[in-house]
Amino acid sequence: MNNLLKGSTGDWEIVIGIEIHAQIISESKLFSGSSTIFGSEHNTQVSFVDAGMPGMLPVINSICVEQAVKTGLGLNAKINNFSIFDRKNYFYPDLPQGYQISQFDQPIVGEGKVLIDLEGNIEKEVRIERLHLEQDAGKSLHDQHPSYSFVDLNRSGVALMEIVSMPDMSSSEEAQAYVKKIRNIMKYLRTCDGNMDEGSLRADINVSVRKPGDDLGTRCEIKNVNSIKFIGQAIEYEAKRQIKLIEDGELIKQQTRLFDPKKGQTRSMRSKEEAHDYRYFPDPDLLPLTFTDEFVENIRKTLPELPDIRRRRFVDDFNLSPYDASILVSERETADYFEIASEGVNSKLVCNWIVGELFSFLNKVNKTIDQSPITPQNLGKLINLIDDGTITGRIAKDIFEIMTESGDDPISIVDSNNMRQVSDEGEIEKIIDSIIELNPDQVKALEDKPNLMGWFVGQVMKETQGRANPQKVNDILNSKLLK
């Protein structure tokens, strides 16, 4: 694929590597027993460990270790049975310890790879460099007071997985597809909820540009981008900024930048270069993290079906096109919904209705599929009603409308509103006869304008409130009017 950007001196290639920070799903924090629930009263989920009080000692949460190993397995990565916790030292008010407990040169998970899904059913492999465990920091609020920042430590010490990719992506689309894929895998594994609005998943994007075939250029890191859309915008802006600088004869300075969603631009953070001097050293409070092969194999046995395999199964078992299947599995919730809805139902129709009517409704009301007022069981029933001829496709759309408001069972909606399809030929014939009788001019005009047939169909549908079997209406009209 051609991902080159045009500059005034020719083509440029973008090189992108991504660090994802993913909050682990756990009840309590990585090294303390305080709760991880999002949105609680500030500073109520803080222990003396999380507040960095002197003499407090960290004790690791076994579930967080399991979650990291599980995610590593989901990324086809090497699991390290021996890893080390290090202190990453820096000063910031929402980091009360003065250091973040992280992993430096011996992380819990090593090299892996994922397949990302691109436009036109193309897959691309992106290599994972590593995954390590670390603590999240607290939160600073800067807009509460003219001269003070407010600090909330509820998030301080929550377990994060930092997933580092190799610089294998070369367009904003690939970067977006990568983050979506990692998020989706973690949602399937239930190791991270992937909620970017609540900050459970944040991405740092490394962007550099080069002439095709050249060595890697100097990179800039865009910190904490928190939506898939912003990831795309930030990369587009940053790549063009760097190309312009170089073409104007300037040098790219390696720096950390922030993306401003309002302006759609990145800007330099004020922090000095030396803020990157983290002076890592092994945390003397923590022994090496070790576990057996058996521990890893037991986790491997609990792995759910991951999106790539599920897609293949959807193609094989439900006879879906690879394109349809990849849309369905791209969110675990959508794939789950589809599987429930298509139990005993025409699965191709179910897929069409989910991707068409349901998605456009959910989009309109800004809801996710697990908030859908229409249960998958009810959507399945609706489709069965169409499939077995009980209702017409047109009526089905009306019933769908009603279901989005009431959430009712489609069968009871059909019964209470008299919406069953009229397939009785005698009944349809009677209606058609009366229309022909009342509209002699149209019958005559039909001889010159065969398109007028549509008008007759419309009249029948109007008369029956859309309930007439369209095939039968066509057949009878044809036999009576086209001789």
């Binding site: 756990s26 009840e27 309590s28 303390s32 027993g33 305080s34 709760s35 009263e41 500030h42 500073n43 109520t44 989920q45 803080v46 222990s47 003396f48 460990v49 999380d50 507040a51 004790v59 690791i60 949460n61 076994s62 579930i63 967080c64 270790v65 021996f82 080390i84 030292n89 000063f91 910031y92 008010p93 600073s140 609020l141 800067h142 509460q144 007071h145 003219p146 001269s147 003070y148 920042s149 407010f150 600090v151 909330d152 430590l153 922030l258 953070m269 004020r270 922090s271 030396e274 001097d277 002076r279 092994p282 923590l286 022994l287 090496p288 993290l289 070790t290 576990f291």
Partner: protein, 97 residues
Amino acid sequence: MSVNEDNVKKIARLSKISLNDSEVKKYLTDLNQIIGWVDQLKEVDTEKVSPTFSSFGAGEGIKQRDDIVSDGGYRKEIISNAPKSEEGFFLVPKVID
């Protein structure tokens, strides 16, 4: 190996410690003595010795705890030492990157 005055100032800055000129000289001497001692240790041949990450045996890994909420919920105590607080928040001089 040794450090110079600039290194000492940089380390002080990273550690948010302010040093006057005579202190810089004092710590320069101290640090270089420590480094000299470590240099001496480096003379030992450790080619075939794996790094010691803890004083426990190699098999003695980290102790793990169950994932149970057992702590927190004492905001008053948490912020009681803060020089400045408001409505349960720590207040710090404004920091924006």
